[in-house]
C-alpha cells in the first residue's frame, strides 16, 4: 500500500505542464496584444502614447484614431477570431475523433461563403430599407446566417431518433459543400467586375475591416460559443473512447455533440463573418498543444483559445507591416506560416493520423 501511494503521488508531467503552459500562454497573449498595439504602419507607438498620457499631454487626432479606431478594434477582433477558430478546431477534432477535422466539416465555411456571395452579388436586389439597416454589415450578417443555417441543416440531416451520426454528418457535409460550391459558382457567373473583386478579397480573409460595430456584434456570440465549448472538455475526453464507452462512463453523448456543433457553428460563423476565411489556425493550434501537453481537452480547449488568439494577432502584425503602408490579407500569412507547420506535424508523427 505504501508503494502504491508513492507511485500515485509521482509528479504528473503532462498535467503539470499543461497548467504551466496555460499561464505561459496567457503571458504570451498579453505580450502579443502589446506588440500589436505598439507596431503598425503609422508612426504611433503604445509606449510613446503612454508617455504622453502620463505627462498629461493631449493625444493628436491621428494618434487617437490609430489607437482607438484602428488598432484596438482590430486587436479585439484578432483575439476573438483567433480564439474562436482554434477552440472550434479543437472541439471538432474531439467530436470527430480525428486530428485533421476542422470546422469546415460541419458546413460552416461553405455556408458562410455562400451567404457572403449571395449578399455581395444579390445584395443590390434587396429592398432599400433592408440595405439601409444592414449597411456595411450585410455581408457579415449573411455569412453568419449562411454558416449557422448550413450547420443546422447538416445536424438535422444526420440526426435520427435523437442520435446524431457523425459519419453521416461528415458525408452530408461533403455533399452540402459541393452544393454550396455550385450555387456560389452560379452567383460568381452573375457577378459584375466590382463584385468579383469584393468576392476575392472576402475569400482571402482579413482583419482590415475591423470596427467597434463588428466587434460588438460578434462578441456576445463568440463569448457564448467559446464559453460553451470550454465546458466540453470532459465530454470530448469521453468521446475519445468511442461513443458507446463515453455513454458508459456517464457522458450525455447526444448533448455533448449538440453543444459542440452549435458552439462551433456560432464561433466559427461569427469569426468567418467578420474576417472572411482564415485557414490553418483551427488545425495547427490544437495539434501543437497536443504535442506540448497531451490531448486532455479540459486543458486543450482553453489553451487553444489563448494560443489561437496569440498566433492570429502575430500573423496580423505581419500582415500589417510587411508591405506597409499596404497590407497583405491575413489568410495568406496564416497559410504561409501554417501550411509548413502542418506538413511538419504530419511528417513527424506519421502514425498519428489513422484514417
Amino acid at each position: 500500500m505504501a508503494a502504491l501511494t508513492e507511485i500515485s503521488s509521482r509528479p504528473r508531467d503532462r498535467h503539470a505542464r499543461a497548467r504551466a503552459l496555460h499561464w505561459a500562454l496567457a503571458g504570451v497573449l498579453a505580450l502579443c496584444c502589446a506588440v500589436s498595439l505598439q507596431i503598425g504602419a503609422a508612426e504611433v507607438t503604445l509606449t510613446a502614447l503612454l508617455g504622453k498620457w502620463l505627462a498629461g499631454e493631449p493625444l493628436t487626432m491621428m494618434e487617437r484614431v490609430v489607437l482607438f479606431d484602428i488598432r484596438l478594434p482590430r486587436l479585439a477582433m484578432g483575439v476573438m477570431v483567433g480564439g474562436a477558430l482554434a477552440v472550434s478546431g479543437a472541439a471538432m477534432q474531439g467530436l470527430f475523433r480525428n486530428p485533421l477535422a476542422d470546422p469546415g466539416i460541419v458546413g460552416v465555411g461553405a455556408g458562410a461563403g455562400l451567404g457572403a456571395i449571395l449578399a455581395i452579388v444579390l445584395g443590390t436586389l434587396l429592398p432599400v430599407w433592408v440595405t439601409d439597416i444592414a449597411g456595411n454589415h450585410l455581408v457579415p450578417l449573411a455569412a453568419f446566417f449562411g454558416g449557422w443555417g448550413s450547420t443546422l441543416l447538416l445536424y438535422r440531416v444526420s440526426t435520427r431518433g435523437g442520435r446524431t451520426s457523425v459519419a453521416t454528418m461528415l458525408l452530408a457535409g461533403i455533399a452540402l459543400g459541393a452544393l454550396a460550391g455550385a450555387l456560389s459558382g452560379i452567383l460568381v457567373y452573375m457577378a459584375d467586375d466590382q463584385q468579383l473583386r469584393d468576392l476575392t478579397f472576402w475569400g482571402l480573409g482579413s482583419l482590415a475591416g475591423a470596427s467597434w460595430a463588428k466587434v460588438l456584434a460578434a462578441a456576445p456570440l463568440v463569448v457564448l460559443s467559446v464559453g460553451a465549448a470550454l465546458v466540453l472538455g470532459r465530454g470530448l475526453n469521453g468521446l475519445a473512447l468511442g461513443e458507446a464507452t463515453a455513454a458508459h462512463i456517464g457522458i450525455d453523448v447526444q448533448r455533448t455533440k449538440l453543444v459542440a456543433i452549435l458552439a462551433v457553428a456560432g464561433a466559427t460563423g461569427a469569426a468567418v463573418a467578420v474576417s472572411g476565411g482564415i485557414g490553418f489556425i483551427g488545425i495547427v493550434v490544437p495539434h501543437l498543444l497536443r504535442l506540448a501537453s497531451g490531448p486532455d481537452h479540459r486543458m486543450l480547449l482553453p489553451n487553444a483559445a489563448l494560443l489561437g488568439a496569440s498566433l492570429l494577432i502575430l500573423a496580423d502584425v505581419i500582415a500589417r507591416v510587411i508591405i506597409a503602408p499596404a497590407e497583405l490579407p491575413i489568410g495568406i500569412v496564416t497559410a504561409v506560416l501554417g501550411a509548413p507547420v502542418f506538413l511538419w506535424i504530419l511528417l513527424r508523427r506519421r502514425g498519428l493520423v489513422d484514417l
Partner: protein, 303 residues
C-alpha cells in the same frame, strides 16, 4: 522510453515556438526598417492619390511633386513608382493610409473597403472622391474635380480644353478610318483555356466604340466567362487584350491555337492588338492617345 519521447516532443515544440518568434521578429524588423527608408520628399508633397487615372491627372496638371503616396493601380507616370504604395485601391488598410500622413486624399470611385474609408474619414483627412468615367465628358469632369481639389482650377480648365480637343479629333479621325467597322473582342483573361470577355457597359466597350470598332459581343453586360461556341458565334475580326509586358503575355501562336479563338476570323488573319491596361481602360488624360493607337491598330493608316 516514454520519458525520451516526451522530451523530444517538448523540444520540438520549443524549437518551433522559438523559430516562429524569431521569424516574426525578423519580419517585423524588416518591415519597420523598410518603412523608415521611405524617400523624404519635398515639403509640398501632401497628397495621397488613389486610382490610376486620378494619379495621371494630378501629374498632367503639373502637380506630380505634390503626390506623397499612391496606390497599386497608379503606374503612370513611371517616376511615381518609387513612392510609398498603400496597396490595392479596393483593399486599403486604414492605418497604412493614415501612416503616410496625407493632408488630402484624392481617390477614384470604388476605393474600399467601406470600413476603411469610414475610419479614414473619422481621422478628419479631406477625402475627395472622383467618379469613374466611360466617356469624354466623364474625363473632363474628373480633371475638373481633381483640379479643384488641388487648388489649381486654371490649369484644370486648360488641361480639360486640351484633352477635350484631342479626344474630339481622335474620335473624328477614328470614325473616318472606320469605313468598314471591324468586330472587336476584348479578352480580359484566357485563364485555364476559358475566355473572359467584355460585354456592353464596360470601359473596354466604350473604347472600342470610340476607336470606330464594334464590340463583337452585344448580348451581355460586364465581363463574363464565355463558352467556346459563344466566342465562335461572336466572330470577332480582331482580338483586343491588355499588354502584360515582357514575356508574361500569351504568345500569338498559343492565343490563336485556343479552340474558342481558332474558328474566329481574327485567328485566320492573326489579328490581335495589345495595349497597356491603364492607357486603354483608365479614361484619364491619355485616352485620346489610346483612341488613336487603337484605331490605327484596327484600321492602319497614319495620324
Amino acid at each position: 522510453m516514454r520519458q525520451g519521447r516526451m522530451r523530444r516532443g517538448g523540444d520540438g515544440f520549443a524549437t518551433f515556438m522559438g523559430g516562429m518568434i524569431a521569424a516574426l521578429a525578423i519580419l517585423a524588423a524588416v518591415a519597420v526598417s523598410a518603412r523608415q527608408a521611405e524617400p523624404a520628399d519635398g515639403a509640398e508633397a501632401d497628397v495621397l492619390s488613389i486610382g490610376g487615372s486620378v494619379t495621371e491627372i494630378v501629374a498632367a496638371l503639373g502637380q506630380a511633386h505634390r503626390i506623397k503616396a499612391r496606390d497599386t493601380t497608379s503606374t503612370y507616370p513611371p517616376e511615381l513608382a518609387d513612392l510609398p504604395d498603400v496597396g490595392y485601391m479596393r483593399a486599403l488598410s486604414p492605418e497604412g493610409v493614415l501612416s503616410v500622413d496625407p493632408s488630402l486624399i484624392i481617390s477614384e470611385d470604388g476605393a474600399g473597403p467601406p470600413e476603411a474609408l469610414e475610419v479614414i474619414r473619422a481621422a478628419d483627412v479631406p477625402f475627395i472622391e472622383v467618379p469613374a468615367a466611360m466617356s469624354p465628358e466623364g474625363i473632363l469632369e474628373k480633371i475638373d474635380i481633381v483640379g479643384e481639389a488641388l487648388g489649381v482650377p486654371e490649369q484644370a480648365e486648360a488641361l480639360a480644353a486640351e484633352v477635350g480637343e484631342d479626344l474630339e479629333s481622335a474620335i473624328a479621325r477614328a470614325e473616318a478610318r472606320a469605313e468598314a467597322p471591324r468586330r472587336v473582342l476584348f479578352v480580359l483573361s484566357t485563364q485555364g483555356g476559358r475566355i473572359t470577355a467584355s460585354g456592353t457597359g464596360t470601359a473596354a466597350d466604350a473604347m472600342i466604340r470610340m476607336a470606330g470598332g464594334v464590340n463583337a459581343i452585344g448580348d451581355f453586360e460586364g465581363y463574363k466567362q464565355m463558352s467556346d461556341e459563344a466566342v465562335g458565334l461572336a466572330a470577332p475580326d480582331v482580338i483586343l487584350m491588355m499588354d502584360r509586358g515582357g514575356d508574361h503575355g500569351l504568345p500569338d501562336d498559343e492565343l490563336f491555337a485556343m479552340p474558342p479563338i481558332r474558328v474566329t476570323p481574327a485567328a485566320q488573319s492573326r489579328s490581335v492588338v495589345r495595349m497597356d491596361g491603364l492607357l486603354l481602360l483608365g479614361f484619364g488624360p491619355r485616352t485620346a492617345e489610346a483612341v488613336e493607337q487603337l484605331s490605327q491598330a484596327l484600321y492602319g493608316g497614319d495620324a
